[in-house]
Amino acid sequence: MRFVDEFRDPEAARHLARSIAELCEPGRRYAFMEVCGGHTHTIYKHGLEDHLPETVRLVHGPGCPVCVLPMGRVDDAIAIAEHDDVIMTAFGDMMRVPGGRGSFFDAKAAGADIRMVYSPLDALKIARNHPDKRVVFMAIGFETTAPSTAMTVLRAQAEGLENFAVFANHVTIIPAIKAILDSPDLRLDGFLGPGHVSTVIGCRPYAFIARDHGKPLVTSGFEPLDILQSVHWLMRQLAEGRCEVENQYTRVVPWDGNRRALEAIGRVMELRPWFEWRGLGFISHSAMQLREEFAAFDAERLYDVPGVRVADPKACQCGEVLKGVLEPWECKVFGTACTPETPIGTCMVSSEGACAAYYNFGRFSRSRVREATLLADPVVRR
C-alpha cells in the first residue's frame, strides 16, 4: 500500500540497522526512552528490536494516555455514567480500563449507557439526536487529542447545544518528561520525542531536555523506519558529542507546532494546579480542565463527582514500568495475576501500554523464536 509500505521496507531497515551497529562504542550500553505509547505499539508490532544491536535498548515511557489515568478517575466517570439521563461516550481503548469497581465495559453490562466513539464530534452527533439526554465525552489524551476536544466544545457552544458535556482528563507531556528526568535512577542516553504531541506543541518545548539535562531528543514518526532512523540520529549525536533536539518527523511536525490547535486549547482549557498520574503520583500543572467560561459543558461541575481516590493495588508496579525502571516482565504480577483479560494495572490495558504490547507481541524467548523461524522457512513459494 502506498505511503505505508515505503516506511516498512525491510531492506532500508537492515541498512539503518548496520549504521546503528557501526556507531556503537565497544563495551557501552545504550538506553533510549520512547515517550509515546504509539511508538511502543509500533516497536512491538513490527518486531523492531530484532534490528537493534543487543547493546541498544528501548525503554517504554509514560506516553500512553490510558495507562496514566488513575483508577479514581475511571470510578468518577462511571459515577457520572450511572445517572439515568447520561449517555457516556469514550474512545475504544478506554472501555477496558479498570477502575476501583470495574471498567466501562462492566458498567455498561450493569446498565449504564456507555458508547464507543471515534471522535468527540461523534459524541456531539449523539447529543443532537438525543435532546432528552446529556451526552458526556470522556476526554483523555495528551496535547494530541486536546485540540479536538476543545474544538468540539466550541462547536457545541456555537450551536447552543446544552446537553453536551466533557469529563476532562487531558494531560500534558512536558511535566511527565520532567518527572522522568528528575527520577534519581534515570539511566537514559536520550529520548525519542512523541510525534503526535509534537504536531501540536512543536519541538521548542523540548529544548530544556538537551540544554539542562544533557539528553538528546529526536522527535520521531510512527512507522518502523521512522523509529529506526530516529535511533540512528540519537546514536549519531552521541558519537559526535552533540546534544540537541532534532526533528525526524518533519513531514508532519512543524518546529513551532500548530498555532491554531494551541489557541483552541488555550481558549477552552486551563492548567489544573495538580493532577494524579497512575504510577507517577501527583504532578503539578500537568493536566487541563475546562475554563470557568465553559462551566456549562464541564461534567465535573455539572455532576457531583465523588473525587474517588483509589490507591493502586499493592502488587502493581505500573509506576516503575512507566518510568522505565522495570521491564514489563520484571513486574511481580506480570502475565500471571495481571494479563490483558484481567488487567490489574493500566499498562496492561491499552495496546499502547508497555505491558500489553510486550504480553501480546513480545512474550517469548528471542533466541528460541529466531531458531523456530529459521528452521521453519515459512513460505514454500509465492
Binding site: 504532578i283 500537568s286 490483558p340 522457512d377
Partner: protein
C-alpha cells in the same frame, strides 16, 4: 512547573522494585511461569456478560469452557470443532448450529441471510462433510418491515440453492419493540461425512504448510464501514460465499495429507491459527509478507489501529496440510472460483509449542496472540 510530591519516594520505589526483580531470576523463567498460568483451567471472573464474551477471543473461549462445556460435557463437544461428528445407523453425520446478529442487516455484498446459510454450510464443509439439510429460526422485532424480511428470506433461498442444501424446518418468534435488533437468525445444519479423512485442529505437525484461500478481512471491514461510523467510502464487498466445493477440491487434491480446515470467521485467521497451535502442541510461524490482504482492508485497518489478521471473513478458510501435498492443494485452491488469491502463509514448527509467531514484513518477529475481546480502536 515542578514535578510533584512523590519525587523523593521514587528512589525507594525503584530500589525495592529492583530487589523484587532479582528474585524473578531471568526473563525465560518468567515466560515459563506465564505459560503455566495460561494452561490453567479458565474461570469466568465477570458477574455479567459483557460484549467481550461474544467477540470470539479469549473471553469467548473462557465462557464456553467454563460454562457450556462444563455443563454439557461429552467427548464430541470437548473437541470444540466447527461441527460435531455423530453416528446415525451406518452413516456419519456432521452437525452444527450458529446464530447471526450482524448490524447492519444489509451490507455491500450480502445480508444476514447469506451469512446464515453460508456460515452453517461452511462449518459443515470444513469438517469434511457434504452439507445436506438446514433449519432456520427467526427472532423478529415488533415493527420490523416485512419487505426487509422478504429480502432476507429470498437471499437465504438463493444461497441454499447455490450450496445445494434445503432448508427443511424452521421457527419464528416475535418479541416486543426494543427487545431485539430487527432480525436475528439461527441456522443449524447436517451434512454427510462419506470420506474417511480425519480433520482435527490438533492434527497439525511440524513441517505442515498453512494455506489461506484468499484475501483476508473483507467481510469484517465491509461491515465496519457499512455502519457509517467512519464516513469512509470504498468499493469493498463482503466475501460471504459457500465453501463446500472448495473444501471438496482440497480433500480431493490433498487426501489424507489435509490435517485441518477451518473457516476464518469471528476472530479471523489469527484466532484459528491459535486454536491449531494450542490443540496441536506446535508453533505456527506466519510470514506477514505472504498474507494476502487487499489494500482497502489494509487502509481501513491502519485507520482504525486494528490488525487484519483478527478481522472476520465469511468465505475464506485456513487449511493446514502436509508438506508433500502443499503444492497440489494450493494449485487446487487457486483453480477454484472461491480460491483466487490463495497463498501459503506459513509453516508449522515444533517450538515454542502453542504459540503463533509472525515474521513481520519489516524483518522482525512477534507473537500473534488471541485477543481478549473485539479489537479496540486506538485513540491516537
Amino acid at each position: 512547573m515542578t514535578s510533584g510530591t512523590r519525587g523523593a519516594s521514587w528512589a525507594e520505589d525503584a530500589v525495592a522494585a529492583h530487589a523484587g526483580a532479582e528474585h524473578l531470576r531471568s526473563e525465560e523463567a518468567v515466560l515459563e511461569r506465564i505459560e503455566r498460568a495460561r494452561r490453567r483451567r479458565p474461570r469466568v471472573r465477570e458477574e455479567r456478560i459483557t460484549l467481550a464474551h461474544g467477540a470470539g477471543g479469549k473471553a469467548t473461549a473462557t465462557l464456553i469452557e467454563a460454562v457450556f462445556v462444563d455443563a454439557f460435557r461429552n467427548p464430541e463437544l470437548e473437541r470444540l470443532g466447527d461441527a460435531a461428528v455423530v453416528g446415525v445407523g451406518d452413516a456419519r453425520l456432521a452437525f452444527t448450529t450458529d446464530s447471526y446478529v450482524v448490524s447492519p442487516l444489509f451490507f455491500p455484498g450480502g445480508n444476514i441471510g447469506d451469512l446464515a446459510v453460508n456460515g452453517t454450510v461452511n462449518d459443515l464443509a470444513v469438517a469434511g462433510a457434504r452439507p445436506q439439510h438446514l433449519s432456520a429460526g427467526f427472532v423478529l422485532e415488533e415493527g420490523f418491515p416485512l419487505a426487509d424480511l422478504r429480502r432476507i428470506v429470498d437471499t437465504m433461498a438463493a444461497a441454499a440453492a447455490a450450496a445445494g442444501v434445503q432448508i427443511v424446518t424452521g421457527d419464528t418468534k416475535v418479541v416486543q419493540r426494543g427487545k431485539a435488533d430487527g432480525c436475528f437468525v439461527t441456522t443449524a445444519g447436517v451434512g454427510l461425512l462419506d470420506r474417511t479423512v480425519v480433520l482435527d485442529a490438533g492434527a497439525a505437525r511440524p513441517g505442515d504448510a498453512v494455506i489461506v484461500s484468499g484475501p483476508i478481512g473483507d467481510h469484517g471491514v465491509t461491515v465496519m464501514l457499512a455502519r457509517g461510523d467512519l464516513d469512509v467510502e470504498s468499493d469493498l464487498v463482503s466475501d460471504t460465499a459457500p465453501l463446500h466445493t472448495l473444501c471438496a477440491a482440497i480433500l480431493d487434491a490433498g487426501g489424507r495429507g489435509v490435517r485441518v480446515m477451518r473457516d476464518a470467521t469471528r476472530g479471523g485467521v489469527a484466532t484459528i491459527l491459535n486454536e491449531v497451535a494450542r490443540a496441536s502442541g506446535a508453533a505456527v510461524v506466519v510470514d506477514e509478507a505472504a498474507v494476502p490482504v487487499r489494500p482497502e482492508v489494509t487502509g481501513a485497518a491502519e485507520l482504525l489501529g486494528i490488525d487484519p489478521l483478527y478481522v472476520a471473513c465469511e468465505g475464506r478458510l485456513v487449511a493446514v496440510v502436509a508438506e508433500e501435498v502443499a503444492e497440489e492443494v494450493l494449485a487446487a485452491v487457486r483453480a477454484h472460483p472461491s480460491g483466487d488469491g490463495a497463498a501459503v502463509i506459513g509453516r508449522v514448527a515444533d517450538d515454542p509449542p502453542g504459540l503463533v509467531l509472525l515474521r513481520t514484513a519489516f524483518g522482525g518477529t512477534r507473537i500473534v496472540d488471541l485477543l481478549v475481546g473485539d479489537p479496540l480502536p486506538r485513540i491516537c
